[in-house]
Amino acid sequence: MAAPPRHSSMMATNAGAPQSGANDRQQVTQQSLTPQPTQGLRVPSNRKTIYDRHLNRSRNAESSRASFAYLFGEMVTYAQRRVTGIQDLEKRLNEQGYPLGLRLLDLLFYRSTSTSSSALSSSSTSSSPPNRPLRIITLLHLIHGPLWRLLFQRSADALEHSVSPDTPNEYMITDNDPLVNTYISVPREMSMLNCAAFVAGIIEGVCDGCGFEAKVSAHNQPTEMWPSRTVFLVRFGDSVMEREKVLERNGVK
């Protein structure tokens, strides 16, 4: 794409800038503020970078269940290459989900801050943004409700605390029919495998992102009514439990 002549003359007057491949006009003006090494920047022909797009356009931007199923199927197949066993496969699926959790966390908060006002630029004070979770219960409610709705358009089915006194750091989130497993039948010889380990990875990413070190795993707990019922076991680390005690003493909610 050839640059219009007016534009190229502008580049020439900006003597300080070294020969740059960047053809973005704003780039030129900002270089005069802070000199930094220029690198080739390709901007789409309509000059709309991802920074110019809205993050809230989710109404008509849903992907079909079938394309997700094929995509996820390929992810499982990919993760299956050269694995040593079921645990290794689950670990890989978990690792695929983890970075997604970190990203979703930011997106989730961004969307919930700006749902009431159409744009952040509206000068009036927008509705008070949701708080970052400080306690385990608020975090789990965030996962059980808003996160699940963002991902699957419904809340999770149950949230429980371990009844055993030995494991006060264990919590269970139940999904009766995980979307990721809808079309998946695990062969009998791998019956321990649950592909929702991917979702467990997402949960782990969200917990870690919020500062709650945790290990999350997915377990099959089929019932007559829900053959693919899955329980996500969330195990928080010692540091989290310790901090939880301190926060409780200080009355932080």
């Binding site: 079938a66 199923a69 094929y70 996820f72 199927g73 390929e74 992810m75 499982v76 197949t77 299956q80 809808t182 079309y183 998946i184 039948s185 695990v186 062969p187 009998r188 791998m190 592909c195 053959p227 693919s228």
Partner: protein, 169 residues
């Protein structure tokens, strides 16, 4: 009446003629040995291919040939024959009927064949087969653990197929 809606059994044959799925939906059917089912699938595959290739063609209506052409040389070339309905693809054996059952064959675009054994009185077999194809596309083809052309062992497919057929009667 239950019997008029009866679906007896289902067989799925892959594009190479191998049996990849076989299931009965009614108690009290005569069982064949596994080997016989394989033979049945292979035989049907062959018969289907033969019926497709012997589909008769009819000569095209002569399009005002030049009058100079002598009658002796006008042996029509192969291209002047056509299927009765050139728009429709050649399907081969579609169904086979006896007075006790009806066998309906449905072939997908990729060459997989679904054979459905039903009561001859059962209506709307096409709908049933389409639904089975739907379930197959969902629970077999979207399953990452299913290897193409291999026997179908998908628990979710079995479950949904059974539940749907039970629900219709």
């Amino acid at each position: 009446m239950l019997h008029t809606q009866a679906v007896f059994s289902l067989i799925i044959i892959n594009k190479a003629g191998g049996l990849i799925y076989q299931r009965e939906f009614q108690a009290g059917l005569r069982k064949l040995s596994t080997n016989d089912y394989l033979v049945l699938a292979g035989t049907f595959h062959g018969v289907h291919a033969i019926t497709r290739s012997i589909t008769p063609k009819i000569p095209l209506a002569p399009t005002t040939n030049s009058p100079a052409a002598s009658p002796g040389t006008s042996t029509p070339a192969a291209s002047s024959y056509s299927y009765p309905n050139p728009g429709a693809s050649v399907s081969g054996l579609d169904y086979l009927e006896s007075d006790k059952f009806r066998l309906t064959c449905f072939q997908t675009l990729t060459g997989t064949k679904f054979l459905l054994f039903t009561d001859p009185m059962t209506g709307n077999v096409e709908t049933i087969i389409n639904k089975i194809y739907d379930l197959y596309a969902d629970y077999v083809m979207k399953n990452p653990f299913y290897q193409l052309e291999m026997p179908v062992r998908c628990e979710a497919f079995d479950r949904h197929l059974g539940a749907w057929l039970r629900g219709r009667t």
